[in-house]
Symmetry: C2
Subunit: 187 residues, 2 copies
Amino acid sequence: MHNDGLSETILSAKPVFDGRILHVEVLDVTLPDGSPAKREVVRHPGAAAVLPMWPDGTVTMERQYRAPLDRVFWEVPAGKLDHKGEDRLDAAKRELLEETGLVADKWVHLGDYASSVGFTDEVIGLYAACGLHAGATHLDEGEFLRAERRPFAEVLADVLAGRIIDGKTVCAVLQANERLRTGEIVP
Amino acid sequence: MHNDGLSETILSAKPVFDGRILHVEVLDVTLPDGSPAKREVVRHPGAAAVLPMWPDGTVTMERQYRAPLDRVFWEVPAGKLDHKGEDRLDAAKRELLEETGLVADKWVHLGDYASSVGFTDEVIGLYAACGLHAGATHLDEGEFLRAERRPFAEVLADVLAGRIIDGKTVCAVLQANERLRTGEIVP
């Protein structure tokens, strides 16, 4: 146990659901004051997300239906890691190719993004991809999405106006915007 | 079923775990091509998060331990909704008071943030709080965190350098930064 007055000690983890993607555990922990508590945790392999940026100021975005909120979202291309510990940049390259048919000459790490620290260990690696050219598209079976090139300025405006709310996409777009401003990214 | 070629039809939802906070379901869905599939979904009440901004350029941040990733994070003050459908701004005001002892005269909506659309319906309302003054602190039982005022410029640098990775915090800080730039927020 850390003596920072904040950390909890995890005593045990009981699996309560083992799905195809999600694994849910209930942890027994000891709080900083020594009292016991339970924590419900969703184990997730993690993911990678890519903002593909073109020299003409457009970016490749996707429309994808998501069952948890029963609606279609504007998102950056993204996908789960094949296994926990897979290199996130490798996963980003694979997902970019699978979902958009693109390969990229230059990759910029936009940071990692812990989607909801209160209940899941999911971390999503965020990247900008520049120097884009055509590869071949192979959508995963059962994956339905529509890729579309849109002006980055329009996507940014949608993020700022709350028309785009997918978390990884909000983070990727705003992180990329800061780096466009500083010249760290030149599409 | 929508005829957009993207949407799925949800046929049924089977509860597989009913916890204190999380409720996990396996959905039977029909894909756009008519074939069947299953979706694992974590139902979550939703949450609200607040970036408290002071006239001297500092913001109130928190250090909090999170069991899913077994480490301490820098975060903006935040908390779960009391029930699905609770007004997110009401929840933001309550959490700001409970966690930092502050009340605010001016609230700016920074957008909503869907934390991980692939597997959960959690949506977090993000707000900036200005015109801050002291109320009274009442931490929830079993909640251990440390609030600290830090220069916003330093927090922004931590976000851009990947030293802050909590998703709601990354989104709130970058959204607020855009609005400081445009003058929409004047702390």
